[in-house]
Amino acid sequence: MHSATVSSPSLPENQDGRWTVSIPSIEWRNPRPARKYNLVILGGGPAGVLTARAAAAWGAKVALIERNLLGGTCLNTGCIPSKTIIRTSRLYADMRNAEALGAHAPKTITVDFAAAMARMRRIRVRLSRGVSADILSAAGIDVYFGAARFAGSSTVIVADETLRFKKALIATGARPLIPSIPGLVEAGYLTHENVFELTECPRRLLVIGGGPLGCELAQALCRFGSQVTIVQKEPMFLSHEERDAAQILSEVLAREGIDVRLNTEVLRVRKQGNEKLVDLVSDDYSSTVAVDQILVGIGRSPNVESIGLETAGVHYDTDAGVRINDFLQTTNSNIYATGDVCLEHKFMHIEDASARIVVRNALFWGRERVSALTIPWCTYTDPEIAHVGMYVREAIRRGIPVKTFTVPMYDVDRAVADGEEEGFVKIHVKENSDKIIGATVVARHAGEIIDNISLAICSNIGLRRLARVIYPYPTQAAAIKMASDSYNLPRLTPVRSWLLRRWLA
């Protein structure tokens, strides 16, 4: 399967005024450029907006340029809309599971997909208010709308205006990567950029790519009533994740009726009447799946084209994005990059953290390194999979011996009480020490639980000291306490045990 990129599908018009706060009003006029900006930012997504705000708050003269919608992927077509519909889909799952929780399950459960999507749009509008052009302008940021491109090593052109800068930031983000499958474009497909514009739940859905977003949406739409098939080329499900985490999620998805096909390639797509016939092959086994919609989620491609990177002396790669060093500097030392256009992990919270690094390094001669960040992330399936720090394989690659302390969620009282026993807490420590080097949590609220371990890693708190933290009883996060208690148990060596017995005799 070869990959190519296509331009973002345009978002359809809608009736609820959704975009009016994050796009320029009809009367919007780009400001008159300052003589020279301390910082010019290309891209009004999370990384760009956060950097602009922080820099402006320090008194810097900042220009923020956006060609489309302020707020970027996360707010408009990524994290927020997906989490919003996941919440509704969880409710339907709970309703169906009511008897297991000692409640009476409704005889018939009618899914109101339109209501779920309407709620999602309302929430998107509400959260987008904080990133309106007016608010950013009021914060002292010069907001420009239009396509920007570098005209030299220290100038950017936008809407026929030339902006001069001391420093610049490339935060142009990324767009969905589309596989070049014969017939796919003709048959039509969804990506995260337009899936949230669906007005009715597809009866049958094929998801190409079993990555985090694909899994999240597959499970959510399945719970809304869609018959979902996930197809991925890789032989292992969520191959970058802890094997047990992937296996647990794979089990859960199968139990909910999702057909996960690993080691499978899409050969071609054919349109037949209202349905799409997708031809698949796995080793020597061929099959065809008939679906109503196809969702593509094989990854994202950095937006590096048509912004004059060559003119500015910024090196880039169409797959990996803008080349940066550990200080987020590009090959033009006055130009920085952050966010999806250059970082391996494309998460909103990483953009937040790296935006702070950009402000310090670009404006205040800072030397902060992106590699020093402790980065957690979470896949918001049910159960969620959250991770922070190193995986075991990564540690071994670096020559660090690892020991993992494992606590299944079914041993955690609160998880049992909540009927949320699927999952575990695994904390990896450097062997013969209590230094935490990473952790994976699989739990219904893993994204919340992992915070405690992130805090410990950031604060250099070892597993032994973590055992002294008192958790209110009962909480699911107490699994961390149980893991740290396990660490302390083996420290009773035979000699120490003997001495203790003598002491207590």
Partner: protein, 425 residues
Amino acid sequence: MLSNDDLLDHLQSAACGYFLRETNLANGLVADSTRVGAPASIAVVGFALSVYPVAVERGWMPREQAVERVLLTLRFFWRSSQGETGSVTGYKGFYYHFLDLQTGQRVWQSELSLIDTSLLLAGALTAAAYFTGRTNSEAEIRELADSLYRRVEWTWAQNDKTGLSQGWKPESGFLHYGWEGYNEAVLLYVLGLGSPTHPLPSTAYAAWTSTYQWENLYGYDFLYAGPLFVHQFSHAWVDFRSIRDRFMREKRSDYFENSRRATYIQREYSLRNPRGFRGYGRDCWGLTAGDGPSTEVPRADHPKHRLLGYAARGVPFGPDDGTIAPWAALASLPFAPEIALSAVRHYCERYPDMLKDYMLPSGFNPTVTGDGPQGWVSQGHFGLDQGIIVLMIENYRTQLIWKLMRDCRYIRRGLRSAGFRGGWL
């Protein structure tokens, strides 16, 4: 009440009976299971070749008959067709997982299987190590086993990578699955490293062990793998007591001790029984690869759950559908005899109808409706289960297979190349 020794004798001879009955005496191939139409499994043939020495030692089979069977089998594999097309028995010295019981050709579009070829070769080398007589027949056994082993092109199976692929198909090439995490592939790697003709480099073993995960679970430190068979199958042939590779030296443990802990963890899981399945407890444990229910209706007193059929079940995260493999306790007998024997006695006393003439089924599931307290019971018997029962009981009683393989130069060479030191090595 039967003594432990008498009970084990009954169980071992019953399991041995599988190989006496289910072998095609025209070519030595052994059926995968007793089910109608079952093909031959090369792994089961490997077990058969190892079972025959046990049967001779225990007086269940005359030596001449065992020699005849072993010769028949080894001659078949040596003369069988090897080639790149699908209508053969093997390729590059490896063999297809499932073969037609009569013709010996590939069936079910099965894969050219590395691990199953390893089990077959382990059996051939065991037979060669046992039949050391001066007769022409026994000399031929030794020559054939040696030739079969030397013919295997282990390095081809690396597919230009560091580690090994799991298999190959003529229609689509190498399977995209490699060996990741601790599993039954120890034997595969040891055999590959020990080859005098196409030896794997030590780096292949190091690449695989770099995917290991050392965990603390239920208070036990161990090299993690979920299904119990992973901790048992390589141990049927190799005596891992006190010999250690680099990983185990660093952990101050060994693979035998690791299997002991894995066995205790299995019992601990059953005691905790997080999914509330019927029957689980102190003497009813063993989540592993085996047969299980797939379509039966669960009992009314237990919520509906997903049934897995023939699958690899594991601890502590499943998959678990309430199915226990009773033979798994016997396969852990050398590691933890005290709890294994207790479990076996429990099966005999609590679920007598499940045993047919002392043969244990592949799996049973008391949570799923069936006749009697045992609930669903796997129909017929599987050669893998019966083979490991015979070998592990023997290793517990006399260490016969371990002793034979300790003297196998290829095993010793493979272990050393993998970095094993100490103990009998």
